[in-house]
């Protein structure tokens, strides 16, 4: 039983990180309606930017983490400005955008592998301090994961409700034509979507990199976790994304308890396929009238 409790505690930490991935992915998937694989590349870029700033340049973490996040944000915005936005203007379909994002993902990941090598790197130095909660153990980085993940989730939810610009970004996915018609700055809003989504991916990336390390190929897994969480929870429902992310984390914990960690990916994708088959618009979607769809 202690093992299960420990696994569930770990799941709570993972759920926090997965939620960040889900918000990052959901933000552009909902607002711009295309599946951007480049998100996986931005995830990887952050950790490499932070490790370069902190270990190669010797900057303290409170400087290297924000600079890593900003760098990733700029890479993400640049990707949009140079590739996705021009393609969009050109009238390209979502399939073309998906494939172009796959191309840029492959290019960036291999550029990183070329510069830094393929081996696993870790951001933290030495052993992580850990604390006991009765028979359970929690490390310092896990506490940070929970705090950062859940606080960011709540803050962004408040932003969607209170901040006019974020509200407009949230509305963008439903009726993109309306944004220009209302005279809102579409181009800037697009840039904000890409920047914010990179920040969320970056936070998740850093939190994971301190804990279990990273290599150039971890981006695809992160992208897919975010994507599965958003689709399972329902593309239009913010708390659906978070529930989707938490569901993946807890199912994986139960999977580890019953079988072994090696079946985790199978559990994630089985969840995706079953949800799509039973509730194609997500677990938390509501029935809508035909004209609302």
């Amino acid at each position: 039983m202690t093992l299960l409790a420990q696994l569930l505690l770990n799941a709570l930490c993972n759920a926090a990180t997965y939620s960040l991935l889900a918000i990052g992915f959901g933000l552009f998937y909902r607002s711009l309606r295309f599946f951007n694989i480049g998100f996986g590349a931005v995830y990887v870029v952050t950790s490499y930017a932070v490790i370069t700033a902190s270990q190669a340049l010797g900057l303290p973490l409170f400087v290297s983490i924000p600079s890593g996040l900003i760098f990733a944000g700029l890479v993400s915005v640049l990707m949009d400005k140079l590739i996705f936005h021009p393609l969009d203007k050109h009238g390209s379909s979502s399939g073309v955008l998906l494939v172009a994002s796959l191309g840029i993902y492959i290019a960036i990941i291999n550029l990183i592998a070329l510069i830094f090598g393929n081996e696993i790197k870790i951001l933290s130095k030495g052993m992580e301090p850990s604390y006991s909660l009765g028979s359970l153990i929690i490390t310092r980085i896990q506490i940070i994961q929970i705090l950062v993940g859940w606080l960011t989730t709540i803050l962004f939810w408040l932003a969607i409700r209170k901040n006019t610009l974020i509200k407009a970004i949230w509305a963008m996915g439903k009726v993109p034509e309306l944004i220009r018609a209302l005279g809102l700055p579409y181009n800037q809003m697009r840039a904000i979507v890409f920047f914010l989504s990179a920040l969320f991916a970056g936070l998740a990336s850093i939190a994971t990199s301190f804990d279990v390390g990273f290599d150039p190929h971890v981006g695809m897994g992160a992208l897919l976790t975010g994507a599965v969480a958003v689709i399972v929870g329902g593309v239009d429902i913010y708390w659906g994304w978070i529930c989707g992310a938490s569901l993946i984390a807890f199912l994986q914990a139960i999977g580890v308890w019953l079988f072994s960690a090696k079946w985790n990916e199978l559990i994630t994708f089985a969840l995706l396929i079953i949800t799509l088959l039973l509730r194609p618009h997500g677990i938390f979607s509501q029935k809508r009238r035909a004209e609302e769809k």
């Binding site: 599946f35 399939g95 955008l97 172009a100 191309g103 840029i104 689709i231």
Partner: protein
């Protein structure tokens, strides 16, 4: 010389894979990300039937085709309820699930340890061992597959697939069921990919799951996106270009530690540039929707 023969054999095996994937991507307009799974099931089924059940090469290939057909039917039925992004995700999901099983079901596949010592093919008592013999065998299979594929491409079935790809609702109005047509294309493509798996396993004589990863499925899709899909030329141009590009880079004198990454960076950039200027690929007919 052996090196050139080896390259020609690999091109032959990949042509079988891309010509079959073309049925789904180029003719159906569906971006499938699980083709490597069918390639892998074909390879494992052939290997296990030859090693464990003592089947001959030809019977193993035929049984592997039927086994893979069953799997592609089981994957196609749920996947083809979707179009667009969900279809891509569901096929990607099946790719990951079956790869995880191949990797972790050690009792059956030996997982990451792989299966060595796969016997070379023997047909009607004639043992195939040398490279020229293997090349001959591969291209006999390729010609057979190409004939089947060309017949399908030009048949009313192929035309109906194209019609469904270009305008699903209009074609459905003419009485063409998208589900059954796409499902037939998906299953046939899977079965043909299985043949490539059988040839690969008996050629290399060792298989492990890392040859059938998501990256391999992406690579097959990239060949079609670069070469073009929806006709016969596209997959051929794409396969030759993508298999020979790394060899060309080798002649430029890039060190071996750098070459694989440089190659992948080039693939990535070529795809992005093609999406801007030629979304139908170098010699293709079908533009992505």
């Amino acid at each position: 010389m052996n090196y050139i023969l080896h390259l020609i054999i690999i091109i032959g095996i990949y042509l079988i894979l891309t010509l079959s994937l073309n049925l789904v991507v180029g003719f159906g307009g569906l971006l499938s990300l699980c083709h490597a799974v069918f390639y892998g099931i074909g390879a494992y089924a052939t290997t296990l039937l030859m090693l464990k059940a003592g089947f001959g090469f030809v019977t193993s290939v035929i049984s592997a085709v039927l086994i893979t057909g069953t799997f592609s039917l089981a994957i196609g039925v749920p996947a083809l309820r979707f179009r667009g992004d969900p279809f891509v995700l569901v096929t990607l999901g099946f790719q990951t699930i079956i790869f995880t099983i191949m990797y972790n079901w050690i009792g059956l596949t030996r997982g990451p340890y792989g299966i060595p010592g796969i016997p070379r093919p023997s047909i009607a008592g004639y043992q195939i061992t040398t490279l020229p013999e293997y090349l001959f065998l591969t291209y006999i299979f390729l010609v057979m597959v190409a004939i089947i594929i060309v017949v399908i491409y030009k048949s009313p079935f192929g035309m109906a697939l194209k019609a469904l790809r270009d305008d699903e609702m209009a074609a459905e109005g003419l009485g063409k069921s998208p589900f059954y047509f796409f499902l037939a294309a998906f299953v046939i493509a899977g079965m043909i990919a299985s043949i490539a798996g059988s040839l690969y396993a008996t050629y290399v004589t060792y298989i492990d799951p890392t040859s059938f990863t998501l990256d391999e499925s992406i690579f097959l899709l990239v060949i079609l996106l670069v070469g073009g899909a929806g006709n016969l030329k596209g997959p051929i141009v794409g396969t030759i270009f993508m298999i020979l590009l790394p060899e060309a880079l080798r002649f430029l004198g890039l060190p071996d530690t750098v070459a694989p990454n440089v190659r992948q960076i080039l693939y990535g950039l070529v795809i992005v540039i093609l999406m801007f200027f030629r979304p139908q690929g170098i010699a293709g007919e079908f533009k992505l929707k």
